[in-house]
């Protein structure tokens, strides 16, 4: 399901299936997309931040079109304890690889991979901080 911002319209709540993973997309060329994500984050229930939220930063291939400071984005990921993926949608190889990663994450969040739960993502994040 794709939405341009949160909260989702309440009219369709009863028709909506369970949400296993929320991916927030930030376009590095648009400051507006960062602001939009920041306001939308407030509408997400706290329980999602135990591994069921991730950030996808797009447009990273073009360094010269960058409107957002990378520091600001990384701080966002740290503040919400959620993984941050960087990709360039215009490159097919990267697009496919990123889609595969997201699918893998979704499988884990939906409980299809025995022995691994969404909470693993949170502990992975903490380990890289200690390094």
């Amino acid at each position: 399901h794709i939405a341009t911002s949160l909260p989702l319209p309440s009219e369709r709540d009863h028709l909506r299936p369970r949400i296993d993973l929320v991916v927030f997309m930030i376009d590095i060329k648009s400051k507006y997309s960062l602001k939009n994500v920041e306001t939308s984050l407030a509408h997400v229930d706290a329980s999602f931040f135990l591994g069921k939220v991730c950030f996808l930063v797009t447009g990273v291939g073009r360094v010269n079109a960058c409107s957002i400071e990378t520091n600001a984005i990384c701080k966002l990921g740290e503040a919400y304890c959620s993984p941050m993926l960087f990709c360039e949608l215009e490159l097919e190889g990267v697009r496919v690889a990123t889609a595969q990663r997201l699918l893998r994450m979704l499988q884990i969040c939906a409980g299809y991979i025995p022995g691994v739960s969404a909470l693993s993502f949170v502990s992975l994040m903490r380990n890289s901080d200690d390094d």
Binding site: K31, Y32, C66, I68
Partner: protein, 288 residues
């Protein structure tokens, strides 16, 4: 500090195309006359090879290479080097002057980040600015690359850096009445390209910056963000358009103007050092 306004007058009010240059190997300041001669010969040879690609690009060229002692930031910086290409005058030598057709200059203003880390035989002049036909730039660039084993790259300026520039320059105090602060945005993904030009009265822009900046002489990313957010919010209030979703392509102030393709115009000598320092920093980060 760059002091002599007469020597730097040639810089002002010209559109300079920016390049980053890697350090020059075995560049000797004592040999500037030799270099001028060798570059002249190279250009003549290009003419022989029939490589004049543009109509109106003459190749009977006289080359002058000079050192601009005062054009630098700190003592660690190398003094700037100016290359000028003039058309040899065809008429009799009495009243005719050679016509300047192309200028390019290498400089470094507070480029210590780069010069600290290079071995002995290298000269660091990371910023290269050109004015004139692209064919000349290409020839001069090729000769320098061949002779000093360096590498030139066009220096593009990201929207992030452009917003730093407009915040910094809009806040500069100027004696005379200043021109408007203008930001030009390009709107992506439309069937026909759309440019939005946002002009602000310079006093309003300066007043806004003065309320945002906490420590004079210091600028932080947060302050630049607040400044830009105020401008975006004001525009949105009036026109219901989110400029933050568009691409900032050009900024223009009374101090200087800059375009994302890496073209700058310096309009005021008072802040020349500050502008060159920022451009040097951009050039260095592109090299590293």
């Amino acid at each position: 500090e760059i002091v002599d306004p007469q020597k730097t007058a040639f810089l002002l009010r010209k559109a300079w195309t920016l390049y980053s240059v890697t350090p020059l190997y075995r560049f000797r300041r004592a040999r500037l006359r030799d270099y001028a001669r060798l570059l002249g010969a190279f250009i003549a040879a290009e003419k022989q090879k029939g490589l004049a690609v543009e109509v109106g690009v003459e190749l009977d060229i006289k080359v002058a290479v000079s050192s601009l002692a005062d054009l630098r930031g700190s003592e660690q910086d190398q003094a700037a080097v100016l290359v000028q290409l003039s058309l040899r005058s065809q008429a009799s030598s009495r009243n005719s002057e050679d016509k300047l057709v192309w200028s390019g200059w290498f400089c470094s203003v507070y480029g210590d980040d780069l010069s600290e880390n290079v071995p002995e035989d290298f000269t660091c002049l990371p910023l290269f600015l050109t004015h004139g036909a692209e064919s000349y730039t290409s020839m001069v660039g090729r000769w320098f690359q061949k002779t000093f084993d360096c590498c030139f790259r066009r220096l593009a300026i990201s929207p992030l850096n452009l917003s730093w520039m407009v915040a910094m320059w809009a806040g500069c105090k100027l004696d005379r009445a200043a021109s408007a602060v203008e930001l030009v945005f390009s709107v992506p993904r439309l069937s026909q390209p759309l440019d939005i030009s946002y002009a602000i009265h310079p006093e309003d822009a300066k007043a806004l910056w003065d309320t945002v900046q906490k420590t004079p002489g210091e600028i932080t990313q947060e302050e630049v963000d607040v400044f830009m957010d105020c401008l975006y919010a004001h525009f949105h209030r009036h026109f219901r358009i989110h400029l933050s979703a568009a691409k900032l392509v050009k900024v223009s102030t009374a101090v200087a103007s800059a375009h994302c393709d890496g073209i700058v115009k310096i309009l005021h000598s008072q802040y020349l050092s500050g502008v060159l320092m920022l451009l040097t920093e951009l050039a260095i980060s592109q090299i590293q």
